[in-house]
């Protein structure tokens, strides 16, 4: 078995037709250091994003921003937006989304133990004042807040919350309708499913055509990502040939000595 250059580890999972990119050891280490560093400082005004979204968010997710997720895959995209930051130690607060799916959240790379959900009782929905307090507490404590009931907020509350967001450096991801929030960026997706036939197969792959529009952006950015790809990865469609799935690169343990 030929060793992977720079690591001395035998290459195991290189499939035919895949060009396995082997970052050298220092590269891997520096990537790892960036991942395990204890949270980004407030001075570094961005949060990391999932590798699948780097073409749309090359600088990462700006702290203090409000991002609207709309379109067919809104909840999935909101989860994916938080995945990168959670990898760096952030917590996610979810409010106004009683239907939040945990399993999908795990599949997007967000461990469910880092997610705290605020759920109103169906009989007593929160009013504007309560939402203001709840979101205020969430913004104070969580670096990513996913909110799905923006329409029940008044404009004044939304303004106050966004000011708080700026101070605290959290990111508010609004799902569905922006309501009174002035969104800095708008991420719209159109999903295209594969794998389901006429009475056979199952939903297996999805390509999401994403459009990112922002107030500080001259023109919208477009990208299409696999979410998930046939191998289960979440990657930009253009990169699918270049990057092997993560588990394929893990070398098996070998007995030594």
């Amino acid at each position: 078995m030929e060793p992977v250059p720079g690591t001395g580890v035998p290459r195991t999972g290189a499939r035919a037709g895949w060009t396995v990119r082997n970052p050298s050891a220092p590269d891997r280490l520096s990537a790892l250091v960036a991942r395990v560093s204890p949270g980004a400082m407030a001075a570094e005004r961005t949060l990391a994003v999932h590798p699948g979204l780097t073409t749309l968010f090359p600088e990462g997710l700006a702290r203090g921003a409000t991002v609207l997720c709309a379109g067919g895959a809104a909840t999935s995209m909101a989860t994916l937006l938080s995945a990168g930051a959670v990898g760096g130690g952030a917590w996610v607060g979810v409010a106004g989304l009683p239907t939040f799916g945990v399993q999908a959240c795990r599949e997007a790379g967000v461990p469910s133990e880092r997610v705290v959900l605020v759920r109103e009782q169906p009989t007593t929905p929160f009013d504007d004042g309560t939402w203001g307090q709840v979101l205020g507490a969430l913004i104070d404590g969580f670096e990513i807040v996913i909110f799905g009931a923006a329409v029940s907020l008044r404009a004044g509350t939304a303004r106050r919350l966004q000011a708080r967001l700026q101070t605290r450096g959290a990111v508010l991801v609004v799902v569905g309708d922006a309501g009174p929030f002035a969104c800095d960026q708008r991420l719209a997706g159109v999903a295209e499913w594969g794998g389901l036939g006429d009475g056979h197969g199952h939903l297996a792959t999805r390509q999401v055509h994403l459009t990112l529009d922002g107030r500080r952006q001259q023109r919208p950015r477009h990208d299409t990502i696999w979410y998930p790809s046939p191998t289960g990865a979440i990657v930009p469609v253009g990169l699918v040939g270049a990057v092997a799935p993560v588990d394929e690169r893990v070398a098996s343990l070998q007995r030594t000595g």
Binding site: P38, G72, W91, L117, V118, A137, L138, D140, D177
Partner: protein
């Protein structure tokens, strides 16, 4: 060299006394969802230090929960400190509720250790339980509050012994016995020898897991640990073990590794005009603390004990020693200075709320002209190594604080975390449990939570979470899962409802999916979720372009009450939406949605 002889005064459960509760009231002081102190009544009902709030409330439903406030504790404790400072100079404070001082000088002055202990005890009695006939005695704080202290949380104890740990243990014993405990010179080791190992945690601050390890290795009491040879202990347990052994043998003088500081580190602030306002003084003190910590850090040191000396224009001065075995950071140092100055500014007058110097009845009579921080004990700053994986970060603390605050705001049951419990249905695999019940925010998290590979302790017996669960829908999982399924109608090309036979055969290919305007109540009533949840409803009739199914699940057929027989489908519609639907008892339900 023999360890210094120390007097330790300890007021048990001081936070409860400082909170000012009535005698006979069950009170628990809570910090980060855990009980840090409880009153005697609460203790009798089963409330223990370290319990979760909810647990304490279930043991004792009428318990009065008070938030932890170290500043309040320190202010209240200042009365005790002031009273003892009249007898003894240079008191050393670690936390509100505990103070220590060297016995050597005062003991000779008052005529022996026994006499000194009696004297201190009498002063404590006078401060904490004044006789009702003399309310106006000088040095008496709020008498009503003080009178309660004994009944609320037990008697303060005075212990004199060689070594800090032995004196602390003696003070605990004194608190239980009701009279001061004086251990003879050189008698600390024999006093400690018969005591249980858990005293190391209770009075010495040794981590519980280390004490547990010692116990599992067959050491029964402190004498066993003291009898081990020091080289053996250092070989097996390292420095923490040596420290525990020193405590157990009654010869711990100061924390291991600490030394007298190099000269010339004291920082002094001389004010040209007397400062009267507490806030401006504390602000200046903060800068002093910053200077001191910076100067120590340059030499690679951290301060474990320092003296704060404040002098007024009229020559009065207030000196206290503050100690912390883990070393002071700038904030901790500034906080201690604040406690001391705050207490002094309020004076010994009857609990005045003055925050200006010179306003209160007793000392001080004018503004502060000099503030001095003098480190008295330092050690090499080896730093605190935070865990690379799995340690607690600041984000974790923030999140925990926010969750606690939210629970207070909207109710415990509405702040949830997900817990894996296994199952074939989408709504079964995870369930939302209230955050206060879960172990997410525990300092020692159990790794098994929400990890599919291990079983969860909370599951009912006989329900294995880590089963393979054949019959689960394959990934990707839907991002929108309805906690309560929504009734829908699925029609075939001829406009008839699609059915699934007992053998799992579909009557006709499904063509249209539409919301059930009038859901037939064939099923037990299920409340539909509010319509405004995102992407939730099948808004109007939609054409199915691709579908698969039925995947039949026949669950718990042996249990008539919980038996479920469900056929699941995946639908892809012309509008590009993907649904997971199920038919049960000939009624279609929208279970989830790939949103």
């Amino acid at each position: 060299m023999a360890p210094a002889r120390l007097v330790v005064v300890q007021c048990p459960q001081w936070s409860v006394v400082a909170a000012g509760c009535a005698a006979g009231e069950a009170v628990a002081v809570i910090h980060a969802n855990r009980v840090v102190a409880r009153s005697n009544v609460a203790a009798a009902a089963g409330v223990r230090v370290g319990q979760r709030r909810r647990e304490a409330q279930s043991r004792c439903p009428h318990v009065h929960v008070v938030d932890h406030d170290p500043g309040r504790d320190a202010r209240a404790f200042n009365k005790v400190v002031d009273a003892i400072a009249d007898l003894v100079p240079r008191l050393e404070l670690t936390m509100p509720g505990t103070l220590a001082f060297a016995a050597r000088g005062p003991s000779r002055y008052f005529g022996g250790d026994e006499a000194l202990a009696q004297r201190i005890d009498a002063v404590l009695d006078a401060v904490l339980a004044p006789t009702p006939g003399q309310p106006g005695q000088p040095g008496q704080p709020d008498p009503a509050r003080a009178a309660r202290a004994m009944r609320v949380a037990g008697r303060p104890g005075v212990g004199i012994a060689d070594g800090r740990f032995a004196a602390t243990v003696a003070a605990r014993h004194a608190s239980l016995a009701g009279c001061p405990q004086v251990i003879d010179v050189g008698g600390s080791a024999s006093f400690l020898a018969g005591l249980a190992l858990r005293w190391l945690t209770d009075a010495g601050g040794v981590p519980a897991d280390q004490v547990d390890l010692l116990a599992r290795l067959g050491l029964r009491c402190l004498g066993d640990l003291a009898a081990l040879a020091e080289p053996d202990v250092i070989a097996r347990f390292g420095l923490p073990g040596v420290q525990a052994r020193q405590m157990a043998s009654g010869c711990d003088d100061r924390p291991i590794g600490t030394a007298d500081p190099p000269a010339g580190l004291a920082v002094v602030n001389d004010y040209d005009t007397p400062v009267h306002h507490l806030e401006s003084l504390v602000f200046g003190a903060r800068q002093l603390a910053e200077r001191l910590v910076g100067a120590l850090a340059q030499r690679g040191l951290v301060c474990t004990q320092f003296a704060v000396v404040a002098e007024t224009e009229h020559g009065e001065s207030c000196e206290r020693l503050w100690s912390m075995p883990t070393g002071f950071g700038m904030n901790a140092m500034a906080e201690r200075i604040r406690w001391q100055l705050d207490g002094w500014a309020r004076g010994q007058g009857a609990g005045s709320d003055a925050d200006c110097f010179g306003d209160a009845a007793g000392e001080p009579t004018s503004g502060i002209i000099r503030l001095c921080l003098d480190p008295t004990e330092v050690r090499a700053d080896v730093g605190v190594q935070l865990g690379l994986w799995g340690g607690r970060s600041q984000a974790d603390d923030w999140a925990q604080r926010a969750a606690t605050r939210l629970a207070g705001l909207i109710g415990d049951e509405q702040v949830m975390v997900a817990e894996w419990c296994g199952g074939r249905q989408l709504t079964d695999a995870y369930r939302w449990v209230p955050a206060f019940l879960s172990s997410v925010f525990d300092p020692a998290p159990t790794p098994s939570r929400s990890t599919p590979s291990r079983s969860t302790s909370r599951l009912p017996a006989g329900l294995a979470a880590d089963g393979p669960w054949p019959g689960q829908l394959p990934s990707p999982s839907p991002a929108v899962v309805h906690p309560e399924p929504i009734p829908i109608v699925v029609l075939d090309g001829a406009g008839a409802t699609v059915t699934v036979s007992g053998r799992g055969v579909v009557s006709a290919p499904p063509v249209t999916i539409m919301p059930a305007r009038s859901a037939r109540s064939a099923m037990p009533p299920r409340s539909a979720m509010p319509a405004r949840s995102v992407g939730s409803m099948v808004a109007a009739a939609d054409v199915i372009t691709a579908w698969a199914g039925p995947w039949v699940v026949d669950e718990r057929w042996w249990d008539a009450a919980r038996h479920r027989r469900v056929a699941r489908f995946q639908f892809l519609t012309a509008s590009g939406r993907a649904y997971v639907a199920a038919i049960e008892h000939q009624q279609w339900w929208l279970v989830a949605e790939h949103g």
